[in-house]
């Protein structure tokens, strides 16, 4: 199931750029639109997934032999018997495009970086839709990634290994747990046969929680 992204939400790109959409001047909006177009031509989205049974243990959730430690994911997955682990990447073309812009025009580099962030989100939304369609009648809490709450980023390598991600989609993690290519995500989507209480993705689950400028000014970044 190849994922193709044909357009991006420009308001979202503007928000990521630190510019409230209703206050963006014409030049900034044009920059965001152009960059979104350029980014969409540069990406090669790829993804892979696997479903695991879950076991709840005192220290966390066990997923196919791998312990996912901490309380937050455990609470989040409560009521789910299985989970789909997936990863997605925009490919190295997105990184190269941003790198190129950085040495010439930082405003464009920022816009491209934010367009890529929006594109990753859009890819993940599509994947979530695909996965949900495979499990009719089930319900799903929002997707949860390392770095949310107390789920450590140090899991990235193990999650990628469980998906054979380096070989299947060319996605790796650095020694300091940065996903490379950069514009990539790993996520766990819980699957429950029964109705479960719906949570929305909130600031509490966000890795940027502590330093977030939007939250400090009483606002919200606009991501779900």
């Amino acid at each position: 199931m190849p994922i193709t992204i044909t357009q991006l939400n420009i308001d979202e790109v503007l928000r990521y750029m630190g510019c409230p959409p209703d206050k963006a001047d014409a030049a900034t909006r044009a920059l965001a639109e152009e960059s979104a177009g350029q980014m969409l031509r540069a990406v090669t989205p790829r993804w892979t997934w696997r479903v695991f049974d879950l076991a709840f243990e005192p220290e966390g959730v066990r997923m196919g032999g791998l312990l996912l430690p901490g309380q937050d994911l455990k609470d989040h997955l409560r009521g789910c018997e299985r989970a789909a682990l997936f990863c997605a990447t925009l490919g190295s073309g997105a990184d190269a495009l941003i790198r190129r812009a950085e040495s010439v025009d930082m405003a464009r580099a920022l816009a491209l970086d934010c367009a890529a962030a929006a594109a990753v989100e859009a890819v993940c939304d599509q994947i979530e839709g695909e996965l949900q369609a495979m499990f009719p009648g089930c319900s799903f809490p929002f997707r949860f990634s390392p770095g949310y709450g107390d789920l450590p980023l140090t899991l990235q390598g193990d999650l990628l290994a469980a998906l054979d991600a380096p070989r299947r989609v060319g996605l790796t993690a650095s020694a300091s747990n940065i996903l490379l290519p950069r514009k990539s995500v790993t996520a766990i989507l819980g699957i429950s046969r029964n109705q479960i209480e719906k949570h929305i993705r909130s600031c509490l689950g966000c890795p940027a929680h502590d330093g977030c400028q939007y939250r400090k000014s009483g606002g919200h970044c606009g991501i779900s």
Binding site: E102, A162, V169
Partner: protein, 797 residues
């Protein structure tokens, strides 16, 4: 029979099939390390190897694919231990009936520029495996399942430098004909044959049905034997299975004999049954022996440029006569070179000449830095312009692709120093038709030198197609008869020797008026005489126009497509103006304009306005009373939420354009620099998110600070060293991950421990003022604007 003899013998060579999938079938659990099978499940492994030998495999791959130190880190086993055991076990299983290959798979970490693993570290990682594998008795090395050509290069060098093993390299491609990292078969083949691989090919990737286009492309770009080792079809999405049976696999593989494939095997999902059936299908088939002729070409890791028409080499990355570039080299400001590169490729350069020679800098070190940075931003192949073997070797080592070495001359000493490097790294080389006695006046003498260089290159095993001759341009104002001699030599090198030719064109007009006119005409004449690679300034429209016109008139630009694309809706002026394109003397001057233009973020207009203003006002007056107040107004609006980050950066960009004009005016006037103090910036060790740091850099520079940008993933010791060396009063550190905040803390601690007299400012999304204080930073900046406020406090201006 040894591997190289096998390659020469008629008939197909059978490789083995999947290993990982076979181990799983034997019961390898999820989370177990397949690399340890030789130690933990030797019986399974031996059975698998034996089954392949019985099925007909003439070469089996030892289970060392992932036995590198990065992947073994958490197993408590050493590379030597795992590799030796795996090779020994394979040899035991082979019982002399098959050769055993040391298998080198991807490290699992991406190399620079996409990742952070350094090239030399990658070479080192493979070296450890090669040393152990050769000692354990492997018959050859195979480098496989690679998606980054640079990683293949690292492994290939490790094999060549640490063993006598023959080596085969195969990469994994997607259906679009490229690897995940964008490498295409042409670039892979050119680069790897150049560096001395014994066979190249494709493995993993796709199924056998998807192989023909990849194989056909390989046959165009290499004379080496080709290996194909695909998966058992395409994978089931989300599952572990593949979609092709052994019969279908064997039938599809056997058809590849018509394309001349020499080595046949299987990858993921294939079993001994697949190999046995393939053997049966291949029996009685003749491998079609199609003579292959690889044309002259150069490449980067992702882009091949065949020299099958005039290819423009951009000359602008060269400090000769360029104040701003000399300044950039002294400061180590690589961005300047990157800008030059992108401007030239934008204007139509196919290849970029790189010359960073300046007496007061370490050329070898700078060459490596610039080449690394360039390959991060451009696909265009490079021409390394230096006569220093150390600088050339450093750059040849880290460059991913097939470069041009510029240059060697007809002197024995020059040839003996440079040609072995050209051979080792598979480069092409420019031979200058001069020697100890200087540039010969006559055509005949130049031909003698050209032949001498060609013969010497051939004797080192360099391909004829990889020797380009530069017949040398003499300044026509000094030696008017010289131009005709150069053209005649070009004609003869092209016609009699059949070699590709290079020529620096711009020197022809030195000391004359209307230089562009002379240059353009000389270029056209030279192309008519057979010039393939003019070294020119592609930013000059008249020069590119000459090349485009030549391609049009010689019927190379079919249906005039490129010509019309370039000029279809433009009114081309045929008047040639001397000098560079300076700003038009437009009406309307005044400081209000420049200030407004900066506030509006209009780059080129701001540069032009600054130029006009400088005609009537002092440079520092413009900086202090126009530029900085304008930036301050934008900064204040940013703080109060009237403008936002994109506009702030655009204003900074406009101010930067104005600053560049002012710096040009000021440079060379001692004591009148715009410099307000030096700041070192770095994204900390382990972190590679540097966009925020780069935004801060642009802003600080436009307030007149000198910024030493150390880049990303910077070691604490490097920060200390740079702060000392440049006497920086302020060090700015950026981190974007909770996991790399620790590096930030370590860097600050080291600065303190080493008592470097500087203040520190930190920033990044996950930081808070509290945490900044806790790790001992002097200041916290929540955004780029605040970092300027901090700098003002520290420097008092």
């Amino acid at each position: 029979m040894e591997f190289r003899e096998l390659l020469k013998a008629p008939g197909p060579i059978l490789l083995d099939g999947g290993m990982g999938s076979m181990l799983q079938a034997k019961g390898l659990a999820l989370g177990e390390y397949p690399e340890l099978a030789a130690l933990e499940h030797p019986d399974w492994l031996k059975k698998i190897h034996r089954a392949y030998v019985e099925a007909g495999s003439q070469i089996i791959y030892a289970n060392t694919f992932g036995a590198n130190r990065e992947k073994l880190r958490r197993t408590g086993r050493t590379v030597a231990e795992v590799v030796s055991a795996s090779v020994a076990l394979a040899r035991e299983a082979a019982e002399g009936k098959a050769l055993v290959a040391l298998d080198l798979g991807p490290i699992g970490q991406l190399l620079e520029p996409t990742g952070i693993l350094k090239f030399e570290d990658a070479v080192d990682i493979f070296e450890e495996m090669v040393t152990a594998g050769a000692a354990a008795g492997a018959d050859l090395a195979v480098i496989e399942t690679m998606t980054d050509l640079q990683e293949v290069r690292a492994a290939l060098l490790a094999v060549k430098e640490n063993s006598d093993l023959p080596v085969m390299a195969t990469m994994s491609y997607e259906e679009r004909g490229r690897t995940f990292l964008g490498c295409d078969p042409a670039s892979a083949a050119l680069t790897l044959e150049g560096m001395g691989a014994d066979a190249v090919g494709v493995n993993c990737s796709l199924g056998p049905r998807e192989m023909p286009p990849l194989v056909e492309e390989l046959t165009r770009w290499t004379t080496l034997p080709i290996a194909v080792k695909p998966n058992a079809g395409l994978p089931d999405p989300g599952g572990a299975g593949y979609d092709i049976t052994a019969e279908e696999f064997a039938a599809s593989m056997a058809r590849l004999a018509d394309l001349g494939v020499k080595l046949y095997g299987g990858c993921c999902g294939t079993t001994p049954e697949y190999i046995a059936r393939m053997k049966a299908e291949l029996e009685g088939r003749t491998i079609r022996d199609i003579p292959r002729q690889v044309p002259a070409a150069v490449c980067s890791g992702t882009c091949t440029v065949p020299i099958d028409r005039v290819r423009v080499i951009g000359e602008r990355i060269n400090p000769t006569g360029k104040k701003a570039m000399k300044e950039a080299l002294r400061k180590g400001d690589v961005d300047y070179m990157l800008n030059q590169a992108l401007a030239q490729t934008g204007a139509g350069a196919d290849i970029l000449d790189v010359n960073v020679g300046l007496p007061e800098i370490d050329e070898a070190d700078m060459m490596v830095r610039v080449v690394k940075a360039l390959q991060g931003v451009t696909d265009a192949p490079l021409q390394l312009d230096s006569t220093d073997p150390k600088a050339l070797e450093g750059a040849l080592r880290v460059y991913c692709g097939k470069v041009i070495v510029n240059s060697v001359n007809g002197d024995e000493e020059s040839m003996e120093a440079i040609l072995p490097l050209v051979k080792k790294y598979g480069a092409a080389v420019v031979g200058l038709t001069l020697d100890r006695k200087g540039i010969p006046k006559s055509t005949e003498e130049r031909m003698v030198i050209a032949r001498r260089i060609l013969d010497k290159a051939l004797s080192y095993g360099i391909r004829r197609e990889d020797v380009y001759i530069d017949c040398l341009t003499l300044t026509v104002s000094a030696e008017q008869a010289g131009a005709a001699q150069t053209l005649e030599a070009l004609r003869r090198v092209h016609g009699e020797l059949g070699l590709k030719t290079v020529l620096g064109v711009s020197n022809i007009s030195f000391g004359l008026p209307a230089r562009p006119l002379v240059n353009q005409n000389f270029l056209t004449m030279a192309m008519t005489c057979g010039l393939d690679l003019p070294i020119i300034n592609p930013n000059l429209e008249s020069m590119m126009a000459a090349v485009r016109s030549y391609h049009l008139l010689m019927n190379i630009d079919r249906d005039a497509r490129e010509f019309i694309a370039a000029y279809g809706d433009a009114q081309v002026s045929t008047t040639i103006t001397a000098g560079t394109s300076s700003a038009p003397a437009a009406a309307g001057t005044g400081e209000r304009d420049l200030g407004k233009l900066v506030e509006a973020g209009l780059k080129s207009e701001a540069g032009q306005a600054a130029r006009r203003l400088l005609a009537e006002r002092e440079p520092m007056d413009v900086v202090d009373n126009i530029l900085i107040p304008a930036l301050d107004r934008v900064g204040a609006d940013f703080e109060s939420g009237r403008v936002f980050l994109p506009q702030l950066i655009q204003s900074a960009g406009a101010a930067q354009a104005a600053f560049e004009v002012i710096r040009e005016t000021l440079s060379g006037q001692p004591g009148r620099e715009t410099d307000k103090g030096t700041i070192v910036l770095a994204t900390v060790k382990g972190d590679i998110h540097d966009i925020g740091k780069n935004i801060v850099k642009v802003l600080l520079e436009n307030y007149g600070y000198t910024v030493i940008d150390l880049g990303k993933d910077v070691d604490p010791a490097a920060v200390v060293e740079a702060a000392r060396k440049h006497g920086a009063a302020l060090v700015g550190l950026s981190a974007l991950m909770t996991t790399t905040l620790k590096s930030m803390e370590e860097t600050i601690a080291l600065l303190h421990r080493e008592q470097v007299p500087c203040k520190t400012v930190v920033g990044g999304a996950v930081l808070t003022p509290e945490y900044a204080a806790q790790i001992g930073a002097d200041f916290y900046a929540k955004d780029a604007k605040e970092s300027v406020d901090v700098a003002r406090r520290v420097f008092g201006k």
